[in-house]
């Protein structure tokens, strides 16, 4: 059996890669892709803790399913925002969407 810490290290690595993507990409759609990667790595953690803890307690898997639903909702609203911004300002570059910047 694979040690629990390996799963946790893998998910920490994926989370960090996603974080780097969110912080550096300029395309708003690519920023959302990074957020998806971060949510996904959290799900790996949840499933791993479920398996290595008490298997009869289903909280880990149920939580993972709720994270799926939240990710779907986030993507729908996020992409709708991107389309709406593109229609108004004709850009998806996050640097250029600075109407509310002081």
């Amino acid at each position: 059996m694979v040690p629990l810490s390996w799963y946790l290290i893998l998910s920490a690595g994926l989370f960090s890669i996603g974080l780097f993507g969110v912080l550096t990409r300029r395309n708003a759609v690519a920023i959302l892709l990074g957020v998806e990667l971060m949510l996904n790595s959290v799900n790996v953690n949840l499933a791993a803790f479920w398996r290595y803890g008490d298997v009869t307690q289903m909280a880990g898997q149920v939580f993972a399913i709720i994270v799926f639903a939240v990710a779907a909702a986030e993507v729908a609203v996020g992409l709708a925002l991107v389309i709406s911004v593109y229609r108004k300002r004709n850009t998806v570059i996050a640097d250029d969407i600075d109407l509310m910047k002081w």
Binding site: G13, I17, G18, L19, L23, G34, N43, V62, F68
Partner: protein
């Protein structure tokens, strides 16, 4: 035993390299396709952990529905490749430093401080995934009924929000 380990290492290599490919490819369509591959490998991780339902949900919801939506929007807007810019030259090193600090910190804590946690768990009991699935269905509609319903309201709100945001405004 060792088969698990070898499988885990190969999958970990594939998932980390596809995540890096997502990060480094300049074309957003390639980024999205790399992320699809990453989601599929994570689904195999779920199978390895004995959670077939969330593995299948991962493939259908993430790799299927969400990524198709992403590709649709990327191709609809036609902004796959953006011109390079140097508005914030310090952004990339700073973000790399922050992400590296986070990764190193988490891995350090897991390797050094939490060694006992890694060894205390040895779930050698094989789990029956069918019983497991049945149990999850029961729990989802009894103990976790309220979160389940709240999730459905969240999805409804997101649907209405997406429609309202993309609707053409009357000029």
């Amino acid at each position: 035993m060792t088969v698990d380990l070898i499988l885990f290492l190969i999958l970990a290599l594939v998932s980390v390299s596809t995540a890096l490919g997502m990060l480094l490819s300049r074309n957003t369509v390639y980024s999205a396709l790399f992320l699809v591959l990453n989601f599929v490998t994570v689904a195999v991780f779920y199978l390895l952990l004995g959670a077939p339902f969330i593995a299948m949900a991962q493939v259908t919801v993430y790799a299927g529905a969400i990524m198709v939506l992403f590709l649709f929007v990327i191709m609809l807007l036609g902004t796959e490749v953006l011109p390079a810019s140097n508005i914030l030259p310090w952004q990339k090193p700073l973000a790399g430093g922050l992400a590296a600090v986070l990764a190193v910190e988490a891995i350090y804590l897991l390797l050094v401080r939490a060694r006992s946690v890694a060894q205390v768990t040895s779930p050698d009991v094989a789990i029956n995934s069918m019983d497991n699935l049945r149990e999850m269905g029961k729990v989802l509609f009894s103990t976790y009924l309220l979160p389940f319903e709240v999730t459905s309201i969240l999805l409804l709100v997101a649907m209405v929000g997406a429609i309202v945001l993309t609707k053409k405004e009357k000029a």
